[in-house]
């Protein structure tokens, strides 16, 4: 069908092409008018105010507060009108790439579409204006929602009970390992070590350490998988648990998981699964059926709650029945037709305690439950299938253009590297920055660590075939450019409002907040 945007779809163009100076990038990127915007603190005259508040009672002073504990006002705060605030944040927002502006194949982050209906539902006054200490009879709706979500997450994981409270994935890991520690303590010895493969995400060892565990790293095999003999060699009575991610961060299914689980269980250890990649398994396979004892979800990945530029997330933890007693409070229960939060340690003497204030990131529960309700059983399964289809489609089209370090089957994401481009002095960093000029967010780069110059691509199921093809076109154009015009690639990105930023300088002379007369040099 004829395209008359005056924009040459760059599949061909780029292939010919010494870069982008002609038409738009394969993702539609071109240049347009955006605005510079100073820091809030660098503007304007004082005495302005962007809010409208009730007056103070006549003659009110704060005299009852000791003078030395009081202050008149906070110096340095900006004073700007509502319009100026709106312009400020509207203008700077344009500098961002989001899922709503374009494809965001950030591996391991599951950047799927965030439904607008979930945003509307989470803002219903009955949810948004609810105080956490509302008596049970005044918050049955919230508790019912939490109970349904708890049931669904336990079912999807193939486990028995889920604690909703952890605030993010890493928090869920911490929680899961506390549960594991409590289990061993109850048996008399917390044990010393946690095993994890070299493909593990950084939060895994960090969470283990925060729990007082030593980390022992296991080498994954040439097929990108962890092998039973590796585990057998490392497994002993000192090992509290093994932490696996399945599919792992290479997007590869740990197909020996059950055998590994048996080995670990045989020595009294437990199996923790990092559920960040659950999108691959939704409705298709369940960690609980593979020998996993504990898993955390990332609702902000698998269940489409917004990432928000870095959170808030939500990391519920599902466990087997015998571990449920150790879960942190609160837990939601149903008694007859009524719902209740269990919050007292008297009722749950074995609990590890409490992981955060109140009950968890409730607004995320609303969004996740809305998605599950809209999907239903078939939709949940189809989500996993299409996520895997999309990743494999990209893999098939890019194979040969970029080096595929592991031939093993991919599930929801695929990892390439820059081996083929290195010859021309082009690195994964260059490829990533050039993708920006095409209008795409780069994949996750330089992770997992087992792959030098990794390009970790996770399309998610909400992206269309055409979008994937445009992304592939850009990747091919860049591979071509690496040969014909490597310098142009080093210069990328050229279309963004800021060019490549100097991260070394930022770390060498940290400037972490505005101060009057602040200098950056």
């Amino acid at each position: 069908m004829s395209n008359l945007t005056g924009w040459k779809p760059t599949m061909e163009k780029e292939a010919k092409g010494p870069g982008l100076d002609g038409g738009a990038g394969a993702g539609g990127a071109t240049r347009g008018l955006v605005h510079e915007e100073a820091l809030l603190f660098e503007r304007g005259s004082t005495g302005r105010c962007g809010v409208s508040l009730p007056p103070l009672p006549p003659g009110h002073d704060a005299g009852d507060l000791p003078a030395e504990l009081r202050r008149d006002g906070v110096d340095g705060l900006p004073e700007i009108s509502e319009l100026e605030v709106i312009r400020h944040f509207t203008r700077i927002s344009i500098w961002n790439h989001g899922i709503d502006t374009g494809f965001y194949p950030l591996g391991s982050c599951t950047m799927k579409y965030n439904p607008k209906s979930s945003e509307a539902l989470a803002r219903l006054p009955g949810f948004a204006n609810l105080h956490p200490l509302a008596p049970p009879e005044a918050c049955q709706g919230a508790l019912e929602l939490m109970w349904h979500l708890e049931r669904a997450l336990s079912e999807i994981a193939g486990l028995d009970t889920t604690a909703l409270s952890p605030a993010a994935g890493a928090h869920g890991e911490l929680c899961g390992l506390m549960v594991i520690r409590a289990h061993h303590l109850a048996k008399g010895n917390p044990r010393r070590k946690v095993l994890l493969p070299d493909t593990a995400h950084g939060t895994n060892p960090a969470s283990a350490a925060l729990n007082g565990y030593e980390v022992q790293q296991l080498a994954s095999g040439p097929d990108g998988r962890l092998h039973p003999e590796t585990v057998r060699a490392a497994m002993d009575e000192d090992v509290a648990a093994i932490m696996l991610t399945n599919p792992n961060t290479l997007g590869i299914f740990e197909s020996h998981i059950q055998e590994i689980a048996d080995l670990v269980h045989a020595k009294g250890g437990l199996v923790y699964a990092d559920g960040a990649n659950m999108n691959a398994l939704l409705g298709v396979a369940r960690p609980g059926d593979m020998g996993v004892d504990v898993i955390q979800y990332n609702l902000h990945k698998t269940f489409a709650t917004p990432h928000g530029g870095g959170g808030p997330g939500s990391g519920p933890v599902a466990v087997r029945a015998h571990l449920a007693q150790y879960l942190p409070l609160p837990l939601v229960v149903k008694e007859g037709d009524a719902f209740r939060l269990v919050t007292s340690e008297k009722e749950r003497p074995a609990t590890v305690g409490k992981l955060r204030e109140f009950w968890g990131n409730f607004a995320m529960f609303v969004r996740a439950w809305a998605l599950i309700r809209e999907y239903g059983p078939e939709g949940v399964a189809q989500t996993g299938r299409l996520a895997v289809l999309n990743a494999n489609y990209v893999r098939a089209l890019l194979k040969g253009v970029y080096n595929l370090p592991y031939e093993t089957d991919s599930l929801h994401e695929v990892v390439f590297d820059d081996k083929l481009q290195k010859a021309n002095g082009i690195s994964t960093m260059d490829v990533a920055k050039r993708l920006v000029d095409h209008g795409f967010h780069p994949p996750t780069i330089y992770f997992p660590l087992v792959v030098a110059g990794a390009l970790m691509i996770e399309p998610t199921e909400t992206e269309s075939k055409e979008t994937l093809e445009r992304f592939v076109a850009a990747m091919k154009a860049i591979a071509e450019e690496a040969k014909t015009d490597p310098d142009a690639l080093h210069a990328a990105p050229t279309r963004t409002f800021r060019a490549r930023l100097d991260e070394t300088r930022a770390a060498r002379k940290p400037v972490l907040r505005w101060k009057p007369g602040m200098k950056v040099e």
């Binding site: 820091l39 105010c49 103070l56 009852d64 030395e68 006002g73 906070v74 705060l77 605030v85 927002s93 344009i94 500098w95 790439h97 439904p115 209906s117 219903l124 204006n129 105080h131 956490p132 200490l133 509302a134 005044a138 918050c139 049955q140 919230a142 019912e144 929602l145 890493a170 928090h171 520690r181 950084g202 960090a206 980390v215 590869i252 299914f253 990432h307 928000g308 870095g310 959170g311 409490k354 204030e357 109140f358 968890g360 309700r373 189809q382 289809l389 494999n392 093993t408 089957d409 992770f447 199921e461 075939k465 963004t496 800021r498 490549r500 300088r505 400037v511 972490l512 505005w514 950056v520």
Partner: protein, 445 residues
């Protein structure tokens, strides 16, 4: 399925390109016996109209007819609609943690502004990009103190938010076990004598609320002095951040670390979460600080821009040696707070803080007229405990009238001599004089 763009033809064509016969075929790397042979047991799919009806039903079973008189770590405040309309911009709420600075300058500049707000309000030098909440921020602060001092003992005031204390204990259980609790006096302030006794050569830090859980303003300078003499850090935890518009900056009174929640700025209560935890400390401690940090730098053309920096502290680089395991934090809620603080500005914030204080005083007068004496004699900001006879009875009774009366202190301090009657109540800009008077009259039934 509106979220699945795949047509049957697309699926077919893509399967061909991949060389798979069917969608299930794509999962051959999962051993047959590990596959699920049945649909997952979740309720049937709903269309959007039924979805809204169902969630309206659920929301309708929560009673939010009046602003609650309970604070206790989660505060009812007015959120200007400007905040939410900016939050709904997809460029903000559908972006990930800003790993690629060139396409994340919006998020990054806002984070830099957040960090600056946190520093200005706390009177400290540096801040991170947010924490999960106030409780975990407190736990991370204690852990940082142990790293900095090489000491293990944590001294906390009994008047520190009980939830914060619980989370602290949970975080520390597996690694550090010495938590000493210092009681508070009849004025609701931490007992300085007991504190002096409690701190010693092994004390890493002293943690107090600012204001504390009882709504009382602590003698922070004296507390900091005691800690300093013992070579320990002083950590303040602030759950009601609006107070920082009227109370002196903790950093200016000797605190080395200030943590807490900025829920009160731009974030609705939503049953207790999410809300942005904050973490600020002195320059010297920056490399032991947990979490993400945004810093200013220059681009290739010498223009100022922002990046995530000092990541050598973090899990993705340092792994088990990281200062914390935190990754995703509370970005969007921190942005909400940043926007609300920009709207408030200097004049707006101090007006808001004074208004809260004035409403609290109005509440005290009304309650005392109604025969409910204030329990603690110490100075307060917008929250205070009253003796209402039977606090739990009052809460149950007023719930029937759509009002959350407050937080019965007996739930957290069962052994306190006046536990039974003590009801912790907050008054904010949302509590009109009429509502306050009505409330005071109703409490005594």
């Amino acid at each position: 399925m509106r979220y699945h763009p795949h047509t049957p033809e697309d699926v077919r064509a893509m399967l061909d390109a991949v060389g798979a016969k069917s969608l299930d075929d794509l999962f051959r790397s999962i051993p047959e016996k590990l596959r699920l042979k049945r649909p997952v047991d979740v309720p049937p799919a709903l269309d959007e109209i039924s979805l809204f009806a169902e969630f309206q039903r659920l929301a309708g079973r929560n009673d939010v007819s009046h602003p609650p008189f309970a604070g206790a770590g989660c505060y009812p405040h007015h959120v200007p609609p400007a905040v939410d309309q900016l939050l709904l911009r997809g460029e903000f709420f559908t972006a990930y943690t800003p790993y690629q600075p060139e396409v994340s300058q919006g998020t990054l500049q806002a984070l830099f502004e957040w960090q600056t707000f946190v520093c200005l309000l706390t009177g400290l030098d540096v801040s991170n990009a947010s924490m999960y909440d106030g409780a975990t921020a407190t736990a991370e602060a204690a852990l940082m103190a142990t790293r900095l001092t090489g000491r293990k003992q944590i001294v906390v005031s009994a008047a520190l938010h009980p939830e914060y204390r619980k989370v602290l204990a949970t975080y520390l259980r597996s690694t550090h076990d010495e938590i000493a609790v210092v009681p508070f006096g009849a004025d609701g302030r931490t007992d300085l004598r007991a504190l002096e006794k409690a701190v010693g050569p092994s004390t890493a830090c002293v943690i107090v609320g600012w204001p504390n859980f009882l709504g009382v303003v602590e003698p922070l300078p004296e507390i900091a002095k005691i800690a300093k003499q013992a070579g320990a850090l002083t950590i303040t935890a602030t759950a009601e951040a609006v107070s920082l518009g009227l109370l002196q900056a903790p950093g200016a009174l000797g605190a080395d670390v200030a943590v807490g929640s900025f829920q009160s700025f731009g974030n609705p209560m939503t049953f207790g979460g999410p809300a942005p935890g904050f973490f600020a400390t002195r320059e010297a401690n920056v490399r032991q600080m947990p979490g993400r940090v945004c810093g200013a730098t220059l681009d290739k053309h010498g223009k100022r821009g922002f990046v995530l920096t000092l990541s050598t502290r973090e899990q993705h680089i340092r792994r088990e040696k990281a200062t914390s395991n935190i990754c995703t934090n509370s970005g969007l809620t921190a942005l909400a707070a940043t926007i609300h603080l920009s709207l408030l500005g200097r004049a707006g914030l101090s007006h808001l803080a004074r208004l809260n204080h004035a409403r609290a005083r109005m509440l005290r007068e009304a309650m005392e007229r109604a025969g409910c004496k204030a329990i603690f004699s110490g100075p307060y900001f917008n929250e205070q405990a009253f003796d209402v006879g039977d606090a739990e009875e009052v809460v149950t009774r007023l719930a029937k009238r759509g009002v959350l009366a407050g937080a019965p202190l007996g739930r957290w301090y069962p052994d306190h001599p006046r536990a039974k009657g003590a009801l912790l109540c907050v008054a904010t800009e949302l509590h009109s004089e009429e509502l306050i008077q009505l409330f005071a009259r109703t409490v005594r039934g």
